[in-house]
């Protein structure tokens, strides 16, 4: 699935999907749920939030998962 396809299915721009993928923008819950529904996976399987002191950051994680 391309960024363009995903953007069209969750009603955002392709640039917003790109910013989410790169971890530069944290989407609202509404968009986050829409994205997880598109993938048919629970929210926590698509997005995660690092605990303080955890290695790596959210940016890398979001990128890997998306």
């Amino acid at each position: 699935m391309t960024q363009e396809d995903l953007a069209a299915r969750v009603d955002v721009t392709r640039q917003t999907i790109n910013a989410i993928e790169l971890g530069k923008y944290s989407p609202s819950l509404e968009v986050a749920f829409k994205i997880s529904r598109v993938f048919g996976k629970p929210l926590e399987a698509v997005f995660s939030w690092p605990e303080p002191g955890e290695q790596g950051d959210d940016e890398q994680r979001s990128e890997e998962k998306l």
Binding site: D11, V12, T13, R14, Q15, K24, Y25, P27, S28, E30
Partner: protein, 142 residues
């Protein structure tokens, strides 16, 4: 690739800078504090506004023809947040410039038209800051 709204922001930013420079060519900064209370000052102002609106309409039409699908897409949450953040910064620019400008120009012996120009100048600079910040956030991602 740039989004439709980023392209629009570039268009508006360049037009605003162009109009500001054009205005300075007609009324040099040295004459801004106390411009003659003639009708031509008003004419120059109206001409600048008309030029700005015309350029904006042309740029808008050209962009809509070039990317009609993007033009129809409504703003998403990230774009709305970028607009809000940029406007908040522009508001501070406007308040600081206009209040500071009025204070300074009053002491420099500005007349009413000169004060009006200070407020107008502050507004234009604030709008330039607004669109510059939008472009910055669009480039950065958020």
């Amino acid at each position: 690739m740039m989004s439709f709204r980023e392209k629009r922001a570039w268009g508006t930013l360049i037009t605003l800078i162009f109009i500001l420079l054009l205005f300075w060519l007609h009324i040099p900064p040295t004459r801004m504090l106390a411009p003659p209370p003639d009708v031509w000052v008003l004419h120059v102002l109206m001409m600048m506004i008309a030029t700005f609106v015309t350029i904006q309409i042309i740029v808008g039409i050209v962009m809509r023809i070039r990317s009609p699908r993007d033009a129809r897409t409504p703003k998403d949450e990230r774009e709305r947040l970028i607009e809000l953040k940029s406007r908040a910064i522009a508001w501070y620019v406007f308040v600081i410039l206009s209040l500071g400008g009025i204070f300074v120009t009053l002491h420099a012996g500005a007349n009413e038209i000169g004060l009006g120009f200070v407020v107008l100048f502050s507004f234009v600079v604030a709008e330039i800051a607004n669109y510059a910040m939008r472009i910055y956030y669009y480039r950065r991602g958020f």
